[in-house]
Point group: C2
Chain length 207, copies 2
């Protein structure tokens, strides 16, 4: 499948692109800057230059699936949380629908189901919640992945992926990427919202 990876320059997005390629898919890494192209080109991964803060509808041509893994990150303010995490995601959903994309997978956050009662970074949970709600109402087939505390250590290939009430837990970014790729690869979108923390189930059996 031809899959647009939005936020490919981020840690999760980068690994999503690589793992899709390994599985024989045709990922297209959406990056903002020319100097971000080389790292993908070296691995035979196609890129498209596009910016979430401008018109980026050209990036969706002939795409069958989209993985949204962009985020403004911890070093910018809450203004960027609105502009990137919330509105970037919402516009990505709208572009995907417009382009006839079949499956949309998104990195959300484990507290995004109940932002009002979030203990911390409530504004971030609201932004992720608003994006998730927009995706759910879009008519697109979706997979929403809500990981716990993201870790930089290598993935284990084993996770706990579950619906319903969230639990506190950590999860390596690499395992988040693996689950996203598994969801796209399996391509049985059932319009599900999953929590994701570290666990015992092999990623390949998680969905």
């Amino acid at each position: 499948m031809r899959v647009l990876v939005v936020g490919a320059n981020g840690q999760i997005g980068h690994q999503v692109a690589e793992k899709l390629k390994e599985k024989g898919h045709d990922p297209v890494a959406m990056v903002r800057k020319e100097e971000q192209v080389g790292q993908f080109k070296d691995k035979g991964i196609e890129t498209v230059l596009a910016d979430l803060e401008k018109d980026f509808s050209h990036a969706f041509e002939n795409m069958e699936a989209v993985v949204f893994a962009a985020g403004s990150g911890g070093s910018t303010g809450a203004d960027k949380t609105i502009v990137i995490d919330q509105e970037g995601a919402i516009e990505t959903v709208d572009n995907a629908r417009e382009a006839g994309v079949k499956h949309f997978a998104i990195v959300s956050s484990i507290g995004a189901g109940d932002p009002k009662n979030a203990d911390q970074i409530k504004h971030y949970m609201y932004a992720k919640h608003r994006a998730d709600e927009h995706l759910k109402a879009s008519g697109l087939d979706y997979t929403i992945i809500r990981p716990g505390m993201l870790q930089n250590e290598a993935g284990t290939g084993r996770v706990k992926l579950f619906e319903g009430e969230p639990e506190v837990g950590n999860v390596p970014r690499e395992d988040v990427a693996a689950v996203l790729v598994h969801a796209i690869d399996k391509n049985q979108p059932a319009n599900k919202v999953y929590n994701l923390i570290e666990g015992d189930t092999p990623v390949e059996e998680s969905i």
Copy 2:
């Protein structure tokens, strides 16, 4: 009409409550703190203690209309823009619908129709936009007022209220309050989105 004024402790909200009272309506000022009650009580205006960041559904009992004039203001960060201006408004809309409110008037902002192309405070324009879109889709009768640059000087009682493409302009907060009260008083919600700047038309003839 019995009208809940959300954000009654703010400058616009305060004047909305007073002007509704002068017109013979029955405003209820929603305030967060006990010490904010007295200033309304002195003018014979009913109050309800409720906090946008907690459960505030009790405030809507027997309300026929709602004016949302709350805002996190310039002294807090963009995190509060999400929590108050966007999500406070969205939850107010949901509560109003739940309570069977007939008419919902909201203070938006003149750039909120096209946040992506906003010159400045883009995140604020997105937050206001998202709240407006939620109101429009709610099924409630609505009046959305998008004022230009808010001024503290006394109102003139004359405005330019118009649909379509916005124009750059100033407008005293008191005139914004007067237009909101006129919209509620006239009670012919036509589900309109208006821009509002200073002008020559008497408020009473503006809708």
